[in-house]
Structure formats: structure tokens, C-alpha cells
Symmetry: C2
Subunit: 381 residues, 2 copies
């Protein structure tokens, strides 16, 4: 498959795109959606042989603006350290697609979408979705774009979960998988932290059973959820190095409940900034999808079986990267995936990289990670 | 000092006691309280030479009911594994005191107390207190009970902070210190988790700036705070062993937002049970006191200096215990204290105990911990 018309004149390609794909779109829950909206961006040009397509999958609170200015915050794309001219994923060489996940709040169908059956937003009537459903939505988008097989699917954190799911759900369409700082299932502790966030949102009276309005959103609950989650993205060492017990704009303890420590001030800022750009119900749905994630479960609990077809029938290559201070998806989880891939006979490279930045390391300046991704992609090109 | 009258006839001694000590009671903040209420319990009899007194300090959400039925919940005392007949701390041999901390909600002066200046509860007009203030309140109680020098002061977590503070503030009154699963300062990550809890409480409209009524308390916010904190008390390994990804009362995923996983159900229960027995404003004040805790700060940041008088002038003995899977106050924090005590020339014993139970280990069945505490106390008797 390839795009026949000159791509530049094709409105399917470029920044800040929206597409509506007619349904029904079947979900893992057994429910279905009448149709599918997808917000996405593409960078670069699909090669005539169609072999240079890379799908980038974003994390829990990410979006499709991987390497372009965010239209609402005005901030640079969230992965410009990895994606861009001269970077390992380069629009000069690659055709890059990044879509807002199903359940999201940045152009793709989610709880904020209008339910065609009622004419009102779905809110909590939106069906619960899974990581697998997110992947199916991406597959439908690729069909629409005329992309058959991906050179690579790349993601960190929840993006890595999608990348792994791709190899399980569509081994015929994925030549390689790059999964960074991720896991093949959500642990009890992962679920516990997400549940705290959900309870914080649902405890906010403004949440109103999910039926809040744009003018009255559960911002306090969502901010608390973000604060709790944010701690899990950083390492104890990183927090100590960056903030320690330093005071914010004062010389001595104030004996009050203001944000006296820098780390308090930082966390509050993270919470407040987040509610400007994210939807509370989407947060509920996406965290639920992550908690449900367990690649091995449909395969008798044997992770190697999940990867069997990718490894044996299609020779899909895998690159796994973990970070020393990531305690959200620690190295042990990556090693578990690597063991399963080895057991399945897959081609897999793995490295644990030193970083003080905890889980967030994959989003930050990480030259070694860039070298690993670059080498891996070039080897399979 | 000793009690002259037969102790049995003295209403100062026994279970579920209350005392009002006239003020003014000066606080670290520079403010003062007009008087001091203290809820406490004593067990056993003070020896004629007064040398068998042990003070037990409770943790963040603990109380004075260390080895007696809790009057509100009807549950056994929170440390009956360590304190009781035949236990390392034994009313047959020891005179045991445990007091609700200043700022608490179990009989001691705190934000729920009546402000004598207004006739209404202090709420957020209660002065911010510190671990050092808690220790001074305990010292005032000991004066009232006729206890001069303590054979030992014993505590875990925030109780351990108080125990260490005793050796710094009153080295002349403490012959030995047992500090379990604790730290000499709150780290940035510790502060961050507490700040999330405080924000959850203050985000609850029922909190009403602290001026809630008994009928309308910020239970939702307090429950979220407890849930977030509770995760930090357990280890990832312990959560996995206990809950894993097991479902609660169902065979398959329900594709909804009920508590589907056992760990969710458990956490929600922890949150709901907590609000039955604890006051939201007390939670704010006590977490603040812990965040302020930094034993070295008043000593040029040199922890050894803080212990100098205890070590050199009074020969106070120290026992430190940490647990392998405690990531709230990890072994590294105990080792930091041990290094400082060694540098100060103090007699110190330290051991890290194996446990899968994370920070909570000190409250659970821990035969090795009991042996360590027993041996240490007997050696100094």
C-alpha cells in the first residue's frame, strides 16, 4: 500500500488533523462505538514502497503533538528530543504518525465526545476502553492513511504498552517495536496509585457523576490526581537533588500551610497546569485502560505465548529500554518482557540506562536512549 | 523523682486518662498555648527508684491506646505485638506511658480543641506545631506523673522521630532510644506525598477552610489522603503478593469504575475506615510537623552535633531498626542516623530486618524486631 496522490496535496497528511471513521467500531468490552474520531499528526512523507512509516504512541497524558507546538499550551512537542530533523526519528527519512489515543481529550473519541444517540457528551456513558482498543483505533487510522506495515511502533510508558500490544494484535503489520520505560501489565501498586487519582476526581463535587460542564470542571480533584501521579514519575533521588528540603521564596519556616518547600510549590504547579490541558473523565478512562492492561492474561498468563506469532511468523524485532531509577515501571518489568521475548524466540535488544530522573527519563534529555533507538531503527531499515 | 502515694489509688495512672496542664506552653513557632490537654495511658507501676519508665511515641495516625482496646473502633491496641505481658515492653516489669501527640485528635490539644480565647474550636487558628513541640508536651506530662528520667523512649515512624528528638532536646532524661523505621528528616518525596494528602483534604468543599462541623466533615478528601499515604506504607512486593491483579468478587473484568481489583477495594476500605477515627485538621497539622522535621537543621546541618550531648554527657544508648522493603523511610535514612551517632561517639546498635511488608513492618508480626528491642532494653536495665 502507498499513497498514490502527491502527499502534500492530500489533506489527510500534516499537523493537527482530524478524521471521522464510520463505525461500528467493536471494543474489547463487547460494546461498540457508532464511529471513531481521531485527532492525529503526520510528519514527513511515506516512501513509495511504504516501508518508512513509524507510529509513535503517547503516554497517559500525552497527545498527538509529538513534535509540533501544542495548540493550547504553546509548548514544544513532547518528544522533540527524539523526533525531528537530525533526530533518531526524522521526518526527512521517516513517515511519522502520532494519534491521540481512544478515550483521550485531544480530538479522538472519548468521554467528552458527543454521543450520537443522545446529542449530549457521553461522559461516563462512554464505554470503558482498553490498550488493545487504542491499538485498533490506530490500525483503523493507518488503513485510512494507506499505511500497511509499520517500520516501527515506538512508545514510552503507556505508549510502550501500545507498542507491545501492536506486536501481539497485529504482528503482520509491525516490523519492529521500541518500548521504553514500560511494562506488560499493571502491578497492584500501579493500580493503587491510579485508584487514588480516580477517587480524588470522583470525590470532587464538581465532577457530578461525570456530567460536569466546561465552566465547572473538577479541577481540584484532577489536580490532586495529577500531583499523586507526578510523584511516581520522579525518583526519590531526583526529587532530593532538585528540591531537597529547600524553602520556596523564604528564609525560614513560616509555620503555616502555604507551599513552604520548593517541592510543594512545584507539585501544586504541576497540578494546576495539568487541569488547563486535560479532561477529568478522560483521565478516568485512560487510567482504567492501563489498569486493565495485562498482555499475558488472554494467553493463559504466559507472556511468551502473546509474542509467539510476532516472533515466529513475522520476525518482529524488539528494543526494550528501562531506567535505573524508574520505580513506576522498574527494570524488573522490562526484564520480564525480555525473558518472554527470548522464550518466544524473538529478536530482542534490551538495555537499562542510568538516569536520576525516574520514570520521566524517557521524556527528558537522554542521549544514550537516542543512540539506542537510532541504532535499532537503522539496523532494521 | 518517684510517686509517693500508692499508684493504684492515684487517678493520674491507668487507661484512658486525660490531664489539663496550665500554660502558657511555648511552641517552636514562637506562639504559645494557654494550656495543654493530654490524652494518655499508663501501664504497670513506676519502680520506687523510678528507673523502669518507658515512653512509647505513636506514629502519624496512632494514639495512646498502644495496648488497650480502642474506645471508638473496639480494635486491640496498635502495638500489642510489642507491648504487653511477656512482650519486650511488659507492664509486669516496666512503667509504660503512651500519650496522644500534641496536634492529635484523641484527647490532646489540637485543632479540634476549644480555643479559650474564642470559645470555638481552633480549627486552622491552632498554631503549627513541630515534632519538638510534641516532645515538650510529653515532657510536661512526665513532670506531672513524677517521672524524671526514662529508661527508654520507643517509637516507629513518626514515633521514632520523637524518640530521636527526645535524645536531642532532653538528653538528661533519656537513658536509651529505640527508633524503628524512621528518619532524622523528611525527604522531598516524603513532603510531596504529604502535600498531596493535604491538598486532597483542602480541595474537599466540606473542609470549609478548616471550619467543618461534626456532621459535615471532609471525609472524601481525608479518605483520598489516607489512600495515597497507605500506598507508601506498603511495599510493591507486598502489594503484589497480597493482591496482585486479582479481581474482587468477580470472575472477569467488568469494564466499569467499581472497585474491580482487590487492591482497589482494599484501598477504598482503608480510606473509609480511617475517616471514622481521625480528624482532617489534625491530619494537616501532624503531617506538617513531620515535614518540618529535620534534626540536623538547628545544628548547622550536622546531625552528629544534634546527638553530641546525649552521646558525650549522658551516654544515651541508641537502637535503630530498618526494614528491607520500607521505601518511605528506607534503610539509607537509618544508616545516616547511625553514622551521625557513631561520629558523635554514641553507643548505637543497628540492624536492617528482612520483611516484605514495607514501612508497616514495624507494626506487624516481627519476631526479630521484638528480639532486638528485648535484648536492647534488657542490656540497659
Amino acid at each position: 500500500m502507498s499513497v498514490s496522490a502527491p502527499q502534500a496535496a492530500d489533506t489527510r497528511f500534516g499537523l493537527d488533523r482530524r478524521v471521522h471513521l464510520p463505525g461500528p467500531f467493536a471494543l474489547a468490552s463487547g460494546q461498540s462505538l457508532m464511529g471513531l474520531d481521531i485527532g492525529y499528526e503526520t510528519y514527513g512523507t511515506l516512501a513509495p514502497d511504504g516501508r518508512n512509516a513509524i507510529l509513535i504512541c503517547h503516554a497517559l497524558t500525552g497527545d498527538q503533538h509529538v513534535a509540533s507546538l501544542h495548540p493550547r499550551t504553546g509548548k514544544p512537542g513532547w518528544w522533540q528530543r527524539l523526533v525531528g530533523a537530525g533526530k533518531p526519528i526524522d521526518p526527512e527519512r521517516h513517515f511519522i504518525i502520532c494519534a491521540n489515543v481512544l478515550g483521550g481529550c485531544s480530538g479522538s473519541s472519548g468521554p467528552g465526545s458527543i454521543d450520537p444517540g443522545t446529542g449530549f457528551p457521553y461522559a461516563m456513558a462512554f464505554p470503558v476502553i482498553t490498550i488493545s482498543d487504542m491499538v485498533e483505533a490506530q490500525a483503523a487510522l493507518l488503513d485510512n492513511l494507506g499505511v500497511g506495515t509499520l517500520m516501527a511502533v515506538v512508545g514510552g510508558s503507556m505508549g510502550g504498552m501500545q507498542a507491545l500490544q501492536w506486536a501481539v494484535s497485529h504482528p503482520d503489520r509491525v516490523r519492529s517495536v521500541v518500548a521504553l520505560a514500560t511494562a506488560a501489565r499493571h502491578s497492584a501498586q500501579n493500580i493503587a496509585f491510579h485508584e487514588v487519582g480516580r477517587q480524588a476526581i470522583m470525590a470532587d463535587p464538581a465532577w457530578a457523576g461525570g456530567n460536569y460542564t466546561a465552566d465547572c470542571q473538577p479541577v481540584a480533584g484532577l489536580a490532586v490526581a495529577r500531583m499523586a501521579a507526578h510523584i511516581t514519575y520522579l525518583s526519590e533521588q531526583g526529587l532530593t537533588a532538585r528540591f531537597g528540603r529547600r524553602l520556596q521564596d523564604r528564609e525560614a519556616l513560616g509555620f503555616g500551610f502555604d507551599a513552604e518547600f520548593q517541592v510543594e510549590s512545584y507539585l501544586r504547579h504541576q497540578g494546576l497546569a495539568f487541569v488547563e490541558r486535560f479532561d477529568a473523565n478522560s483521565y478516568l478512562y485512560i487510567t482504567r485502560a492501563m489498569d486493565y492492561f495485562d498482555l499475558a492474561a488472554p494467553h493463559d498468563g504466559v507472556l511468551a505465548k502473546a509474542f509467539s506469532s510476532a516472533a515466529k511468523d513475522f520476525g518482529t524485532r524488539f528494543a526494550l529500554v528501562s531506567f535505573t531509577t524508574d520505580w513506576l515501571y522498574p527494570t524488573a518489568e522490562s526484564k520480564r518482557i525480555v525473558s518472554a521475548l527470548n522464550a518466544a524466540g524473538a529478536a530482542v535488544s534490551f538495555c537499562e540506562l542510568e538516569s536520576p530522573h525516574g520514570h520521566d527519563a524517557f521524556l527528558l534529555e537522554a542521549p544514550e536512549m537516542n543512540r539506542v533507538v537510532d541504532g535499532f531503527l537503522r539496523a532494521g531499515a
